[in-house]
């Protein structure tokens, strides 16, 4: 059996086609536990695999992915392998973090409060996203409306503490959803940010909607948020209007670009990201989106579209690994051209980013690094804090000292 493979291509194959679990894997304690947690939080099973070359991949085990997939995950002795008829690749299955099973003092299972993706701990504090259902619903979203009850600051702090204890929360990513307000939901996030920054030495990224005025973007940075995502999702205007009717009518596509442009000026280089979901629009359109965003100083993150069972786009599968690979090379070139680093998202395993581009004929891999140019995490955090101190001004600073 061939053990030669290309980790980048394999990652795309696994993301687009999925993997079947072999009986040997299904009975393993790691999978049993992952299944158990998935059942408890009513989420589809997701597995975090590390492919050779430290390529991270998060795979959803869902029925609507290619049922004819040839890929199987097997377990032999203590090792896991991804196999098909020609290939056998040893992979590392990252077991679900220990904190997933724990309960917060209010009785919430921590897997429901925070989910780990690579070095990121994704927290969705409120279930109030107004784009979850009805006419305004985003057609691609895989957030389950039933599964998004509110979490208190205390719930989140306890979960971060437990996650940090096992090194699973270098970044805390807070997802806001859509809340009809002028601020894009930032006011709701600020109490969480305040307490997290007070208690933990972590970086915080926030996924929110563009606020109505730029003042909120400045405040977002000033308040200690390190990285920000306003997710455009697709570049093509017509498709955007069709698949994100809420974003189109309540925020407006132009406002996304305006807000991203301001945020890219305010935040450190590479810290502003925006999703362009691959597979929802023609490849040429994704190319154009990459070019426009990178020219603005925004790092596009390219999650691969995973159809959600029961959603409008359940049967929208238009992806092949061959069609995807040029996109990542294009992304790498665009980032290089605009002197942007994708290091802020390099540990985020649900997207394929430019660091994987070399597997598709791009340049040699960029060394995974902590955000900013400094090598040590501690120094980088100091540098980020210093930057904030230098750049943030209040009206009080601007006023004359005194009378």
């Amino acid at each position: 059996m061939n053990t030669d493979h290309n980790s980048g291509e394999l990652k795309l194959e696994l993301i687009t086609k999925g993997v079947r679990l072999d009986r040997s894997a299904l009975s393993s304690k790691e999978i049993v536990r992952a299944l158990d947690i998935a059942n408890q939080v009513h989420n589809p099973l997701e597995l975090d695999l590390i492919l050779p070359g430290k390529v991270l991949v998060n795979i959803a085990i869902q029925e609507c992915l290619d049922k004819e997939t040839n890929y199987r995950l097997i377990k032999e002795a203590e090792d896991f392998f991804v196999v098909n008829k020609d290939l056998k690749v040893k992979v590392y299955l990252e077991p679900p973090p220990k904190f997933y099973d724990q309960l917060t003092t209010s009785g919430k299972i921590m897997a429901k409060v925070g989910r780990k993706y690579g070095d990121y701990l994704l927290v969705t504090p409120t279930g109030a996203c107004e784009f979850l259902s009805g006419d305004m619903a985003c057609k691609y979203c895989d957030v389950d409306a039933k599964n998004t009850d509110d979490k208190s600051v205390q719930d989140v702090l306890e979960t971060i503490e437990a996650a940090s204890a096992e090194g699973a929360a270098e970044f805390v990513c807070i997802n806001v959803g859509y809340i009809s307000s002028d601020d894009g939901g930032i006011s709701m996030v600020l109490p969480f940010v305040k307490e997290i920054k007070k208690n933990f030495d972590v970086l915080i990224c926030v996924q929110a909607q563009p606020p109505k005025t730029d003042e909120w973007i400045d405040l977002t940075y000033a308040s200690g948020i390190d990285s920000l995502a306003y997710n455009l999702e697709v570049y093509d205007e017509e498709i955007f209007n069709k698949i994100a009717p809420g974003k189109m009518s309540l925020v407006g596509r132009d406002r996304y670009f305006q807000a991203l442009a301001r945020a890219a000026k305010v935040f450190p280089s590479g810290a502003i990201v925006s999703n362009l979901i691959v597979g929802l629009e023609p490849v040429e359109s994704t190319f154009k989106g990459i070019d426009i965003l990178t020219a603005m100083g925004v790092v596009p993150t390219l999650p691969i579209f995973r159809p959600v069972p029961g959603s409008d786009l359940e049967s929208h599968i238009d992806l092949t690994p061959e069609s995807l690979s040029p996109i990542y090379v294009h992304l790498q070139n665009a980032l290089k051209r605009n002197r942007l680093s994708s290091s802020w998202i390099s540990h985020f395993n649900v997207v394929v980013n430019a660091i994987d581009a070399h597997y598709f004929g791009g340049e040699a891999p960029v060394k995974r690094q902590w955000p900013t140019v400094l090598k040590s995490k501690k120094r980088s955090k100091l540098a980020l804090n210093l930057r904030r101190r230098l750049r943030v001004r209040t009206a009080e600073d601007n006023e004359s000292t005194g009378l």
């Binding site: 305010v266 930057r387 750049r391 943030v392």
Partner: protein, 484 residues
């Protein structure tokens, strides 16, 4: 403040310029402080020039130190003044008893009293009542409403500090603008309204001692240094024509440079009516404060020379407390205590320069060298005052120029009072920048004013103001025995 404590409304902004520039801006204060100390040490250690005593040299060094700090605002203005008050006895320029007693100058207590009276007017809502009562008499057409927004703050600034008038009227004008659906920077009428507010308050602020405390400061320095005094009524008589002409010029400029793009102001008139109704009738407290205010102004005019302005102001303040019209807690909120400290120190410094001969020496070695025309001297001083006030606190301009100006006046035999007017009137008439005056800054914060337009029309207004002022010195002042 930790980053997480920032809130909306604090005007949080992120400086997106290149880091070296940001660093330079941030270290500006430290550089300035070091520069101020270096200049101070340099002057004090230079050989004493001919015609200047060593005491004068030390006073000059203290003045230079304060000058740098006042101009750059590296320290709060009040703290700089306190530093001057401490340095004067420490350097042996004046003995400590004399230096600290200057802090008790009656100008300081007059300003204190005026602030407390203004605080009572604002706290009770009397000032809002007055603004709306006057404003509703205008309206009807865009031109009339504009005149109202110019004249009402101007008149109120005769009685209250101009910054308090602008701050009090700002929400009213903002509501008028929103009521008329005016868009910030896009509608010309919106720009006109806020320019009108700023110009009205600033122009009105030079008319009496009450509009701009700098006027009282100038008179305080005058009295301390020369023994001469300008009464409340005397000031008004001298300055009012300039104020009236400038209000006319301002109205014409507003009509000329901001041609109305609004056909009807009916909505605004209705809004003012509604607001007025919502305030209800004037209550007993407001009426009583109004009566005290009227009696105080009458007393300042007719009894000012007999009982001192400060004494009358303090009696009025006592009356406010006797009738329980204001609480001490309110004063802590409304009174700008910093300005009291600033003025005390500035008066002491002015006296120190005068007594040590330093101000005369500056006059001799600078202006005297190039002209012997008193008119040109006054024109130059007025121009310098006007230009400086565009970039720095107008109180600081007065504190800075008064000692030198009095020295020059003595040198040229110019009436000291003329020098007071030449410094303090232009110091209140800066129109070109948001930082030129508190009303400008407040109006600018509305977002309606375009900085470029504020600058171009403001510069023109600056020079018209200078011209009007100089014309008054030639045409009007001789009629009231102020001969140049």
């Amino acid at each position: 403040m930790s980053p997480q404590d920032f809130k909306v409304g604090q005007g949080v902004t992120v400086d997106t310029r290149p880091i070296p520039l940001v660093l330079l801006t941030k270290s500006y204060r430290s550089i300035t402080l070091i520069a101020a100390v270096v200049i101070f040490l340099l002057i004090i250690n230079l050989p004493t020039p001919e015609g200047l005593t060593f005491t004068g040299q030390k006073a000059l060094a203290t003045f230079a130190l304060c000058l740098v700090l006042w101009i750059t605002r590296a320290l709060p203005l009040a703290v700089t003044s306190l530093l001057a008050l401490v340095l004067i006895p420490m350097l042996g320029i004046l003995d400590s008893t004399e230096a600290f007693s200057l802090f008790g100058n009656q100008a300081v207590f007059f300003i204190l009293g005026a602030f407390i009276l203004a605080a009572a007017m604002m706290k009770s809502g009397l000032s809002s009542h007055m603004a709306l009562i006057f404003l509703r008499r205008f309206g009807g057409s865009p031109g009339r409403l504009l005149a109202g927004v110019l004249l009402v703050p101007a008149f109120l600034s005769f009685l209250m500090p101009e910054h308090a008038v602008a701050a009090m009227m700002f929400p009213i004008v903002l509501e008028v603008a929103h009521g008329l659906d005016l868009k910030p920077q896009k509608t010309i009428y919106g720009q006109a309204l806020f320019h009108s507010l700023a110009w009205g308050a600033a122009i009105g602020g030079v008319a009496t001692y009450l509009g701009g405390a700098r006027n009282a400061l100038a008179v305080g320095i005058l009295k301390q240094s020369t023994g001469e005094f300008i009464g409340f009524f005397e000031w008004m008589i001298a300055v009012l024509p300039t104020v009236l002409v400038m209000l006319g010029v301002a109205y014409l400029a507003l009509r000329r440079f901001f041609p109305s793009d609004v056909v009807s102001v009916e909505k605004a008139v209705k809004l003012i009516e509604e607001k007025n109704k919502s305030l209800g009738k004037m209550n007993a407290e407001q009426r009583l404060i109004g009566i005290i205010m009227v009696f105080t102004v009458i007393a300042w005019i007719f009894l000012g020379s007999r009982f001192e302005l400060a004494s009358i102001a303090i009696v009025a303040v006592v009356a406010l407390f006797v009738f329980q019209l204001i609480k001490w807690k309110d004063l802590e909120e409304y009174v700008n205590w910093g300005i009291i400290l600033m003025y005390g120190g500035a008066i002491a410094l002015g006296f120190a320069l005068e007594k040590s001969g330093a101000s005369s020496w500056i006059a001799e070695t600078t202006v005297t060298k190039w002209t012997d025309s008193p008119f040109l001297i006054v024109a130059l001083i007025a121009l310098v005052s006007l230009l400086l006030t565009e970039g720095m606190s107008n109180a600081a301009v007065v504190a800075m120029l008064m000692p030198v100006g009095l020295g020059i006046a003595r040198q040229y035999g110019i009436d000291f009072k003329i020098m007071v007017f030449a410094i303090s009137v232009p110091a209140g008439l800066g129109f070109a920048f948001p930082i030129a005056s508190p009303p400008n800054a407040i109006a600018y914060s509305s977002g309606f004013i375009k900085p470029r337009k504020m600058f171009t029309i403001g510069i023109m207004m600056d020079f018209v103001a200078l011209l009007v002022f100089l014309l008054m010195t030639q045409i009007y002042w001789p009629l009231i025995n102020l001969d140049l």
